[in-house]
């Protein structure tokens, strides 16, 4: 697997969530993703970016374009927030500590091909998702 390009988008204010959506859309479109696949990965990015901002108290998204054996888009959301004590609980639909519907994490997982989460209480959370073309 080859990382073709890498860029970072900061996530410190609400407007940054919109920037994440726009940038992910642009890159997914350049990679030739179908409209449905673009929509799925942008929606997943929107959910995860909001999580990083609200639950993680801010952080950043790294966007990698992948090539070999397939074209793909890998997004890494990282924060130094409070961390997630029970990941399996957090992934369950309907679970929320905020004011949302609790679909963010589990929903985002369903919209991508690969999903990895590493979280340490008191240290932060890193979520990596990949959508292959």
């Amino acid at each position: 697997m080859v990382v073709v390009s890498s860029e970072n988008v900061p996530l410190v204010s609400e407007g940054d969530v919109v920037t994440v959506r726009r940038r992910v859309r642009e890159v997914a479109s350049q990679l030739g993703f179908s409209l449905v696949d673009q929509t799925k990965v942008v929606t997943a990015a929107s959910e995860l970016a909001r999580n990083t901002l609200i639950h993680g108290k801010g952080g950043e998204m790294r966007l990698n374009q992948l090539n070999g054996p397939r074209l793909g888009l890998r997004l890494t959301f990282e924060d130094k927030g409070p961390g997630i004590p029970d990941i399996s609980l957090a992934l369950r639909d309907g679970f929320t500590t905020g004011s949302g519907l609790g679909l963010g994490l589990g929903g985002a997982k369903r919209l991508v091909n690969e999903f990895e989460i590493v979280s340490r209480v008191g240290e932060g959370t890193k979520i990596t998702v990949t959508r292959w073309k």
Binding site: V17, T39, L101, L103, L111
Partner: protein
Amino acid sequence: MEKIPILRMGEFLLVTIQVDMHDRLALALQDDLTNRISQTGARGVLIDISSLEIVDSFIGRMLGNIAAMSRVLDARTVVVGMQPAVAITLVELGMSLAGVRTALNVDAGMELLRSSEDSFEDNRAW
């Protein structure tokens, strides 16, 4: 702060969402619409989302809230124009927009709003 315009057409309110909404803008629309329904005594709200490229759980929740609040204020809400890719993604995300009446386009949505309240309730009971 930017705002999403709410147009009044007879006894209905019309909203066309044409910007990529950040969360605060979505919340502001929810408040504005609720106030306008109460001020104008509007009987229906039509929300055109054909320009929206994604509906995530936050925007989905906003649409559900608007439908619920307008119902409490005796107005009906119809969401129209959802792009097919958005519909596919929304369902996979886990949102079915229960309680939100939808129509394919503005014409069909207006038709639905104009139809009698009884049949509207029937339509909703799926």
